[in-house]
């Protein structure tokens, strides 16, 4: 297996982008990534694109070919493949690109993610997202995504010490970071009060515990590490790529409050990267809901079960803390265009390791981790990156 490096990154701004179509979004992100790598499009050997549900959001399937075509590569006939794993689509697309390069099958590969979510009514987008759970045995009886994570929150709070205020502090911290990220959907700081006074969505989760509906796209380019310096002075090495699956329904899990797929993928990734937790300088976790960030920090092994609430209220996970979590603002403040999120996490970590994160910069960051979840934990992808 060959070592792999990220040689270029690009991302649109995230938000309700009424003026941009599905194809406008990925063309913009792809062009930014190529420009960053100072690479001509015709050098691309293959593409993988993460997308959850263009079929329901914009009534468009066959995304792989569409993207290659509008990237201006139709006459080059490169292989272009859509990857779908609900909200983990981006993380899995990135992993497929890494595997393609590591195996020696391809050299220059684009991993992209895109979702255009605001062309349907809010009720329809919520319903589409429910397809990430079990439609027949969760969605049919009235479960929603916030509802499923709310059941994790109630189980967690019944068993472990976590206050409603600590849960709110996850969102407060992520908005603080989002306010320092020029691509973030929400660039406003909020207070604990903002969260606690927002509308109840699914008890105990309120509006400000939930990631928003977002349009956006992100793209990164990977290449063999030995060739990386042809394209960039600051290649970022992919130290590990790991993926795990679990039951599609929340109710069938071994433990409602533990994402076993996160535990397994996290352990595998650390082992492959030959790292211990103390080596990780920062992590982008999948905070689709505030409780999800609490579970992720614990399930990745950064602290014991039941301790992440205190870690958050003590400021350990803040920008100036010992373990900065979601410096991009996370899904909560940066936004969550589901298929693009996994790639945006890579975009953020690469910026941080290059020292290009401006007001969010973690001084001396050398090793970073991304954690991308599909559904309530049925698919998880974990990647570790290093500045070499």
């Amino acid at each position: 297996m060959r070592d792999v490096a990220v040689i270029g990154i690009g991302c649109t701004t995230f938000g309700e982008k009424w003026e941009s179509s599905f194809r406008d979004l990925f063309v913009e992100a792809g062009a930014l990534a190529l420009e960053d790598a100072q690479l001509a499009g015709e050098k691309i050997d293959a593409m993988y694109v993460g997308n959850m549900s263009a079929g329901r959001f914009v009534e468009q399937e066959h995304i792989g070919a569409l993207i290659a075509d509008y990237a201006g590569l139709a006459t080059h006939h490169i292989p272009s493949t859509r990857v779908e794993a609900a909200c983990a689509s981006g993380g899995l697309a990135f992993r497929q690109a890494v595997i393609a390069v590591a195996s020696g099958m391809e050299d220059i590969v684009v991993a992209a993610g895109v979702e255009k979510m605001t062309d349907v009514e809010p009720g329809a987008s919520t319903d589409t997202l429910t397809g990430a759970a079990d439609r027949e045995w969760e969605g049919f009886v009235g479960a929603t995504f916030p509802g499923l994570y709310a059941m994790i929150a109630n189980d967690y709070m019944h068993r472990y010490p976590l206050t409603r205020e600590q849960l709110a502090q996850v969102a407060v911290k992520n908005h603080f970071n989002g306010a320092r990220n020029p691509i973030a959907q929400f660039q406003q700081e909020i207070s604990v009060d903002t969260v606690l006074k927002s509308t109840l969505v699914a008890d105990p989760l309120r509006l400000f515990d939930c990631s928003p509906i977002t349009d956006g796209a992100a793209a990164v380019i990977v290449a063999p590490f030995e060739r990386a310096r042809e394209f960039t002075d600051t290649p970022i090495k992919v130290l590990a790529s790991a993926q795990a699956s679990d039951t599609i329904t929340l109710h069938d899990r071994r433990d409602i409050s533990t994402l076993d797929a996160t535990v397994i993928a996290g352990k595998r990734a650390l082992k492959i990267a030959r790292c211990i937790h103390k080596d990780i300088d920062l992590v982008e976790v999948h905070d689709c809901f505030s409780i999800a960030e609490i579970c992720a920090i614990e399930d990745l092994g950064f602290c014991k079960k039941g301790e992440a609430g205190k870690l958050t209220s003590d400021g350990i996970t803040a920008l100036n803390g010992d373990l900065p979590v979601n410096t991009s603002g996370g899904l909560k403040a940066c936004g969550h265009p589901v298929g693009a999120t996994g790639i945006k996490q890579v975009y953020e970590i690469v910026q941080q390791l290059r020292g290009e994160a401006d007001r969010r910069q973690i001084d001396g960051a050398e090793i970073g981790m991304t954690h991308n979840v599909g559904g309530t934990g049925a698919t998880v992808a974990v990647h570790i990156f290093g500045r070499i």
Binding site: E136, G139, V141, I256
Partner: protein, 132 residues
């Protein structure tokens, strides 16, 4: 949901017909035709569940998907059936009544309507067992 798609699962949705592996005794609801423990040595047969269980965790849904908007707020829970499997279901009670550990039993109820003129989906909800 189309008529055929709904009709196909009526035994499970109305009468809680699941399956059981005769090799290891593990119960499955919703039904599985393949035992994850015994794999090819498993022998799967139908099993009618008693419909008794305990609430593992719950939430009160205030913002619902389109089909359920008329019913908010409603109680959603994960119930552990006495035979072992867990399922996601609505609980027929006031939001302030639901508790973790509460005993419940299954009941035949209307779940949702497919628009104003679409088919009515019936299925199983759970009601609290009055404990005296």
């Amino acid at each position: 949901m189309t008529v055929a798609r709904f009709w196909r699962k009526i035994p499970q949705r109305y009468n809680m017909i699941g399956t059981k592996c005769q090799t290891c005794g593990r119960h499955f609801f919703p039904p599985r035709t393949f035992c994850p423990d015994c794999r090819r040595t498993g022998k799967i047969v139908d099993h009618k569940f008693r419909g008794m269980g305990t609430i593992v965790t719950y939430t009160v849904i205030h913002t619902a998907n389109e089909q359920f908007e008329a019913f908010t707020p409603y109680v959603l829970a994960i119930v552990q059936l006495d035979e072992g499997p867990r399922m996601t279901t609505q609980i027929v009670c006031r939001p302030d009544e639901v508790k973790i550990g509460m005993r419940v039993k299954s009941a035949f109820r209307r779940i949702a309507t497919d628009g104003e003129s679409g088919i009515i989906h019936y299925g199983t909800k759970f009601v609290p067992i009055n404990q005296t």
